[in-house]
Symmetry: C2
Subunit: 252 residues, 2 copies
């Protein structure tokens, strides 16, 4: 998502917070995910940001509403922007996400509201998160896991699949290969970046500068591990990563 | 470990705390693991327990010393008890653990101190944690992962392998099969339970009751998920699991 934001909004100053001390979110409960999301938003709000993108499907599914009601800043999630893209796309829709995202039914409800006739097959694919975190992108285990997780999607003859976890676009080529050439595989990142640009435009908050700023990177645990794995996602080196001690729990 | 403690100390009242809101520990940094371990010990200490078993290799490797210096209660980890078992066992020793446990060098240092001639091969096997958490015990992916992780151990011709993560005993049969019949595979749980009994005996703290008490189960996230997965580890049903809100952070 950050990569897409950099592309679509090259002049904005981006502050990235990775809550690595608490990941993964996808196997945790709604209350815990809401608590973590509130802490993260509080950190960014304290920075005086003009908009927050919750670049995690689990967090969006569970905590976007709570965050939007708590913070007086526009907050964009990764679910709404992609739903509109779906409507024009197909009628048999597959969703690959974490346990929590799939169980929340967030995608399912929004798709059904816009496309009542849509047939939706949602598959939790939690091990893909672990495999990407390990950097095992093109590995026999990853192939096997994708084969396993795409089987119910193939059986349901889906024509469109949403990569409903921000780890999965790294596996897009493999997932596409497993699903076959007639299935459209959607990485929501670009829709999210475009929705962000639209929101900033609407609010007259687009940056008027023309120079480029390196994003600021914060993580809640082990900056070194992040600096090592992050570039795989971002597609470019990560210069400096700072540790952010999220000791803001008492606020909530 | 709980299962072994129940077996060796059937009359003690056991309180189990699973820090499920923060797991996995094995990919996190020493500072974060220490912080979480201190919170966990503070919760148990507030319960007035007479002894704490840190039933996690990562936490033992990173935080046992810090915890022992902070709390005036005997604290037993899962590393020391198994090292003595090793000495009598072999000279080419393999260790399967998490990233953090292997990187800490805790096992390696202690084995070398007792057996200076030992050849040690330590392999981080993080995906085995995710596979067990998913309940994929006898699954083609698990077979493939074990094949991958045991390869360097087989190449090093180890005669003994320590299962240095409390998730791995669930995979003991598969790991043993991959390593072959001449390699001894050690689950530290029983040594830990015996060391606990010895410590309680030495301190004259052994329970004199003769009836059995169900353990009390606390988790920091999603009791339902724990109640579903826990019995796989424990080998018996888990009756009631309570949510423990670890809001003790301000203490440290």
């Amino acid at each position: 998502v950050l990569k897409a934001l950099q592309k679509v909004l090259p002049h904005e100053r981006l502050i990235y917070l990775g809550d690595t001390a608490h990941l993964p979110y996808g196997t945790k409960s709604p209350q815990t995910i809401i608590r973590y999301t509130m802490q993260n938003c509080a950190f960014l709000a304290a920075y005086g940001v003009k908009l927050i993108v919750i670049a995690c499907n689990t967090s969006t599914a569970m905590a976007l509403e709570a965050a939007a009601s708590q913070f007086p800043i526009p907050i964009i999630g990764v679910i709404d922007p992609v739903i509109e893209e779906i409507v024009s796309s197909g009628s048999r829709i597959g969703i690959l996400g974490t346990h929590a995202t799939v169980a929340s039914g967030a995608h399912q409800k929004k798709i059904s509201a816009l496309l009542p006739s849509a047939q939706i097959t949602a598959v939790p694919a939690p091990l893909l998160v672990s495999l990407v975190e390990e950097g095992w992108i093109d590995h026999p285990m990853t192939h096997l896991a994708i084969q396993e997780y795409t089987r119910p999607l193939i059986q349901a003859q889906v024509d469109t699949v949403i990569l409903a976890c921000t780890h999965f676009p790294l596996l897009k080529i493999l997932i596409k290969r497993a699903l076959g050439p007639t299935t459209r595989v959607i990485d929501p990142s670009l829709s999210v970046a475009q929705a962000t640009k639209q929101k900033l435009t609407d609010l007259n908050l687009l940056c008027s500068e023309t120079d480029y700023h390196e994003p600021l990177f914060y993580v809640t645990d082990d900056p070194e591990r992040f600096a090592r794995l992050g570039p795989q996602f971002l597609g470019s080196p990560i210069e400096a990563v700072q540790l952010c001690e999220l000791e803001l729990k008492e606020l909530f």
